[in-house]
């Protein structure tokens, strides 16, 4: 009783603490990029693929705030327009792996026994394969394009989410309120949908948020290698690669800004994830 009271006062983070401000800022950055992913194409000052051979590698100016690339295309417009392509693939990876992983975790936790051992064993095998290398391999086999790497990464991200959710689901499933619902004759589907899943929701959200940053980095790496998005898409990983030859020519802006965009989004998702974890799961990190 006293310890519960103490825990309540101790774990409640007050707004305005530096760590919460960091989380809030990270949330704003994430929100901004999600907004750009949705509305970006409507906001761009220039057509992102419009070349201007007379104005290549231009520095910042009033018309081109971030300058132009090796074909004279407006970099700011390309970065904004590329937000959607850069965020959509990791979003699919996280949506698929989180949904499937949560489902697998619940099934394993609920039924236990051989089913749990099978799921855990299979995931250990998947976990043994490095996700990025697998994604590169399937791209090499099935040809360039994002579909095959996204499928590969969705599978590669499964064990991470499933492991965390499974152990939380086992704890949750063994709480007496679940036994009480079973004794009342509540249908299993109802116990899952109305009780277990909502209680596991915050954990799933935190895992998905942190996972998103890593997935974005993996997708960008695949495009950087030329196996994902194809020119002239303004996807950020591809832009880093496209700009690389120009670095030696003294015009690093394309690689620099695209790289910074990736960095900013990855860091923002990570900070948001850890901040949410502290707030929603009460971790004293």
């Amino acid at each position: 009783m006293t310890s519960a009271l103490f825990a309540r006062t101790a774990s409640k983070p007050r707004a305005g603490r530096p760590r919460d401000r960091v989380t809030l800022a990270a949330g704003c950055v994430v929100g901004l990029f999600v907004f750009l992913a949705v509305c970006g194409p409507l906001l761009v000052p220039h057509a992102p693929n419009a070349v201007d051979p007379l104005n290549v590698h231009a520095g910042p100016s009033a018309t081109h705030l971030l300058g132009t690339d090796d074909s004279g295309r407006d970099l700011l417009s390309r970065l904004i327009a590329g937000t959607r392509a850069s965020l959509a693939a990791p979003a699919v990876v996280i949506a698929v792996s989180t949904t499937l992983g949560t489902l697998l975790a619940l099934v394993a936790a609920w039924f236990g026994g051989w089913l749990d051992r099978f799921v855990s064993g299979a995931l250990d095998v998947v976990f043994g394969f490095p996700g990025l290398i697998m994604a590169v391999l399937v791209a090499a086999v099935f040809g360039a394009g994002l579909t095959a790497p996204v499928v590969a990464l969705s599978i590669a991200y499964l064990p991470l989410i499933t492991r965390v959710v499974r152990s939380a689901a086992i704890k949750e499933r063994n709480l007496p309120y679940v036994s009480a619902l079973q004794l009342l004759g509540a249908p299993t589907a109802r116990i899952w949908l109305r009780h277990l899943l909502p209680n596991l929701g915050p954990l799933v959200l935190v895992q998905a948020t942190i996972g998103f940053g890593y997935a974005l980095l993996d997708v960008a790496a695949i495009s950087f290698l030329g196996l994902g998005s194809q020119p002239p898409d303004p996807e950020w990983g591809l832009m880093v690669a496209n700009g690389a030859p120009s670095i030696l020519a003294g015009a690093p802006q394309q690689s620099l800004y695209a790289g910074l965009a990736i960095l900013l989004v990855v860091v923002a998702f990570n900070l948001l994830g850890t901040g949410l974890s502290r707030r929603l799961l009460g971790e004293q990190a």
Binding site: M1, A4, R8, L175, P176, Y177, S179, A180, Q182, L183, L184, G185, A186, P187, R194, H195, P198, N199
Partner: protein
């Protein structure tokens, strides 16, 4: 009404419950006493159907619901109608008040969910039934609208009792349901349970390691040690004249046999305290 015969549970090589036989009459109140690890919870969970027995019989009104039940023999899952019918036979209140309720669900909603599983009622009658159940256990509207974390341990156990009563069970199992509560709150809940038994005729299976509480809630008691029943009889007889050395030890370990929290207020009793 409840008959348990030769009930047995093995966890691997370990026998947690061994040849447990007893019966609980209609409106009866039976206590199972034993120290921690003696197999009380396992027995309760098998009777409730939360754990599969390794052997023996569990009958409610002559009807098998234990290992001899045809679906359990065929390792089939119960249909949801059958599960609800079983819920109207036996309900259970658990030891830990902090996780007995879904932390995201308001107390009134938890009770309403339980009622709705057993009775199809229009919204206003459902609300009235929930209010009636909460009133029976002494919870008010404000507590009904609260999340579990806003309630004390005793209030949460009251809510758990109301939820169990929503199924109008013939038998209510209380597995150390007051063990985690303050002594004065324990006495309140024990009085509440005696009251519920008198009003609704629900038979009580009261599981505890605390001999003091038994006298106030149960007619009969059985004593378990290492999975076996070592003593069985009316509470007064067993407490006054224990036959088994283990029972004598248990009774000796209670500082004042038959205490009630109220006696703490009694100066004569207070004077006898060291």
């Amino acid at each position: 009404m409840l008959e348990v015969r030769n009930l047995r549970k093995e966890f691997g090589d370990f026998v947690a419950v061994d040849d447990v036989t007893f019966s609980l009459p209609q409106r009866g109140s039976l206590a199972i006493v034993g120290e921690s690890g003696s197999g009380k919870t396992t027995t309760a969970r098998m009777i409730a159907g939360l754990e599969t027995a390794s052997g023996g019989h569990i009958l409610v009104e002559g009807e098998e619901r234990g290992p001899g039940h045809k679906r359990q023999r065929q390792r089939q899952r119960l249909r949801s109608g059958e599960r609800r019918a079983r819920g109207r036979q036996i309900q259970m209140v658990f030891q830990d008040p902090y996780s007995s309720l879904d932390r995201r669900q308001r107390v009134g909603a938890a009770v309403a969910e339980a009622v709705a599983l057993h009775q199809r009622l229009p919204a206003d009658r459902l609300r009235a039934r929930v209010a009636e159940l909460l009133d029976m256990v002494g919870l008010d509207d404000r507590q009904a609208a609260a999340l579990p974390k806003a309630l004390s341990g005793g209030q949460r156990q009251r809510a758990a009792i109301a939820r169990a009563l929503a199924a109008e069970p013939q038998i209510l199992i209380l597995d150390e349901a007051v063990a985690a509560l303050d002594v004065s709150i324990q006495a309140q809940i024990l009085r509440l349970l005696a009251d519920i038994r008198a009003r609704t005729g629900t038979a009580l299976l009261f599981i505890t390691h605390d001999l003091g509480a038994v006298r106030h809630i149960s007619d009969d008691m059985l004593v378990m040690q290492a999975g076996k029943i070592v003593e069985h009889g009316p509470v007064a007889t067993v407490l006054a004249d224990p036959q088994h050395p283990y029972t004598r030890r248990l009774i000796a370990s209670v500082p004042k046999p038959g205490w009630i929290p109220r006696r703490r207020m009694d100066p004569a009793a207070a004077a006898r305290l060291p």
